[in-house]
């Protein structure tokens, strides 16, 4: 049965420009169900562009290529439809939205996803129980709920908030864009525990990261190195360690 299911994510020969400049240059990648993939690469290699294109952020021109998500044409979907179909982007720079409470956003997001799955809106008590449980996991205080989305949050709080949203929404494909950047080691462990708690045979995760450090705590099934807009090398978790030892020049040189 499982073998007949399409891959979670299948990217074929994706070419993307931003303001006329080609950033993704024939990228292909497939992520299987239940797998965690890490995408590493030097600055400017196109990692964040990939994450944003998958989530549907405007401002990117797709020249060619196909992206299928659970067999659906992902690029044909609006950002909100992708989210409701179970795709989650953890933002590299989570946006501050003064005037919108965290709890409002969480509830509205959860209900949008439930509605898309034909489920009734979440009961208020159930919802708070769920959120509080996930907040404990992320070491977040109760007062957080009544604060405005990311407003005045420290860098670490913003990243934890992204993971909290992921835990509440339970996406099938999470794309975490440099969620580890700017975190101290304690915060990194908390974030990693959050990500690990979501691992299941039905859920996949793409970790976009510059450093190997996160991968000590979230062990990936596959590691890809992105160089100048395409995958230059793929391997298992040992590739990340080798990269750490030899630096990006090692792959960059090979890809040139």
């Amino acid at each position: 049965m499982t073998s007949t299911k399409p891959n979670m994510l299948q990217i074929e020969d994706l070419r993307v420009t931003v303001e006329g400049k080609e950033i993704l240059n024939g990228l292909s990648l497939s992520v299987g169900r239940g797998e965690v993939h890490a995408i590493m690469g030097p600055n400017g290699s196109g990692k964040s562009t990939l994450a944003n294109v998958l989530a549907g952020r405007p401002g990117y021109q797709i020249l060619s290529g196909r992206v299928s998500y659970e067999g659906r044409d992902l690029l044909a979907l609006a950002p909100e439809e992708r989210a409701r179909a179970g795709l989650f982007l953890g933002f590299q720079y989570p946006v501050e939205i003064p005037g919108v409470n965290n709890v409002y956003l969480l509830k509205a997001a959860l209900n949008a996803s439930r509605k898309a799955r034909g489920l009734p809106e979440v009961d208020a008590f159930e919802f708070l129980t769920l959120v509080r449980e996930k907040m404990r996991l992320m070491h977040m205080e109760d007062s957080f709920l009544s604060r405005a989305v990311n407003e005045g949050f420290s860098g670490g709080e913003k990243k934890r908030n992204e993971i909290l949203q992921m835990l509440v929404l339970e996406p099938r494909l999470a794309i975490l864009d440099e969620t580890d950047s700017g975190l101290d080691i304690d915060a990194l462990k908390v974030v990693a525990a959050g990500v690990n708690s979501q691992r299941s045979p039905e859920r996949s995760c793409v970790l976009v990261t510059h450093y190997q450090r996160l991968l000590e705590y979230v062990v990936p099934d596959r590691v890809h190195v992105l160089v100048r807009g395409r995958i230059a090398r793929s391997g298992d978790k040992s590739l990340a360690l080798e990269l750490e030892r030899r630096g990006y020049d090692w792959v960059s040189g090979a890809a040139a």
Binding site: A55, G56, R57, P58, A78, P79, E80, R82, A83, R84, F88, L89, F91, P94, V95, I97, P98, G99, V100, Y104, L105, K107, A108, A109, A112, S113, A116, A148, V149, Q165, L169
Partner: protein, 426 residues
């Protein structure tokens, strides 16, 4: 102002006097004389260029005749607040609580009318207040004598008459004795379907140490033409918290003149205005710091959708006598329609060195990053846009300390933003 308009005001004034020789004849006539000589402002006047004054051409200045309101639905009463209702500027005891010492209708007793709080020279900005003074036949007088305990009052002005039959002149005079405290809700509503002309005035005088929290909610019908003037004088150590929400009327102009005349007077004003369709919401606020160590926080949030125009001209003047002034101004407008217009205009005139004045003014569209963040969490575009509009306004009423009133305001804003889903979230 055109000679024709001046002549018509004179005619209407004579007609009104003949119809009902009202009390306070001297005061009315004095106001009329000034108005007659000086005229009403026009859009050529600097502070009036965003207002919609075209309606003046067909305005009938005589006070609308007394009538029983049809289809009147009043908001749910708030606990602890005594309610007084005026219909077309006239006291309507049948809808009101029993009169108390602190409240009187102006028409009811000569003692309330002997004083003339508007006496003195007035500039162009206060001419609509003169118009009200010349024509109003009744009004609410709230007076707290020194030593009286804190009070809560709600005054509702209902516009009922059609503008073709005359103008509705709501009038509210508030004077707070030394160290007294008042929470005051002032509402302006329309009877169902009424297309009225309204020229309202609120005059506020705070004696030393008095504290007033004043909620002004303008929710007149979409076919009403509304002019409003608020004049407040703050003596030393007073605290005046003003919350204004303006969502109604086809064209609304609110002129607010606030004078901080006593040392350490503190004014905090938070105004929200929403315009849709072809509405005009025009606010002019002049704050004068005349005494040392006075403080102002002024915040305006306006949203213009459809083809609406929402304007806020906030002028702060710090006199040479006002050393140590602290003034913060934040005016922000949001364009929510491609044919909408936002005009925010901060003005600062400082005539002394020792001051702290900050000001910020922005006019723009919703932030694309915020929108994408919400979409990426699965919210549909309409909900996301409304949520962001809501968030934009939230500053303006975040500090309302009466939870029940805040809920009412939020619900009415959600109504204006056509948002049932948001109501559920609140």
């Amino acid at each position: 102002m055109s000679a024709a308009l001046t002549a018509r005001i004179a005619e209407d004034f004579a007609a009104a006097q003949a119809l009902a020789p009202a009390p306070a004849e001297g005061r009315r006539r004095a106001a009329f004389e000034v108005l007659h000589a000086a005229g009403l402002p026009s859009t050529r006047d600097e502070n009036w260029k965003y207002a919609n004054l075209r309606a003046l051409e067909r305005l009938r200045f005589v006070p609308a005749a007394a009538a029983a309101p049809q289809g009147l639905s009043l908001p749910a009463p708030l606990e602890g607040f005594s309610r007084y209702v005026f219909v077309d500027g006239r006291f309507a005891p049948e809808f009101s609580a029993a009169a108390v010492d602190s409240f009187a209708s102006l028409a009811a007793g000569p003692q309330a009318l002997s004083a003339s709080p508007l006496a003195g020279a007035r500039g162009t900005d206060e001419r609509f207040a003169l118009l009200n003074e010349a024509f109003a036949t009744d009004g609410a007088r709230v007076h707290l004598a020194a030593g009286v305990p804190a009070q809560r009052l709600e005054v509702i002005f209902v516009a009922c008459a059609d503008g073709a039959r005359g103008t509705s002149y709501p009038r509210l005079e508030v004077s707070l004795g030394a160290h007294t405290q008042l929470e005051l809700i002032e509402r302006h509503l329309s009877a169902a379907g009424a297309a009225s002309t309204v020229d309202s005035v609120a005059v506020i005088e705070l004696a030393r140490g008095a504290r007033l929290t004043h909620y002004r909610l303008q929710g007149l019908s979409g076919s009403t033409i509304a002019f409003d003037t608020l004049q407040a004088t703050l003596a030393e150590d007073t605290v005046y918290r003003l919350h204004g929400v303006s969502t109604g009327a086809a064209a609304a102009r609110s002129t607010q003149i606030l004078r901080l005349t006593g040392a350490r007077a503190h004014l905090s004003m938070a105004l929200a205005a929403l315009g849709d369709r072809q509405q005009v919401q025009d606010t002019f606020a002049l704050v004068e710091h005349r005494a040392p160590h006075t403080r102002t926080e002024q915040l305006f949030r306006g949203i213009a959708a459809g083809r609406a125009r929402v304007a806020c001209n906030g002028k702060i003047v710090v006199a040479p006598t006002a050393a140590g002034t602290d003034s913060q101004q934040s005016l922000r407008g949001l364009l929510a329609g491609t044919d909408a217009e936002i005009d925010v205009r901060p003005q600062l005139e400082i005539y002394t060195d020792d001051v702290r004045c900050s000001h910020g003014a922005t006019a723009g569209k919703l932030d694309d990053n915020m929108l994408f963040y919400l979409l990426a969490r699965g919210l549909d575009r309409d909900t996301a846009l409304r949520l962001l509009k809501w968030a934009f306004l939230a500053d303006a009423f975040a500090k309302i300390e009466l939870p029940e009133l805040r809920r009412q305001i939020e619900a009415s804003l959600a109504e204006v933003l056509k948002d049932a889903a948001l109501k559920e979230l609140l």
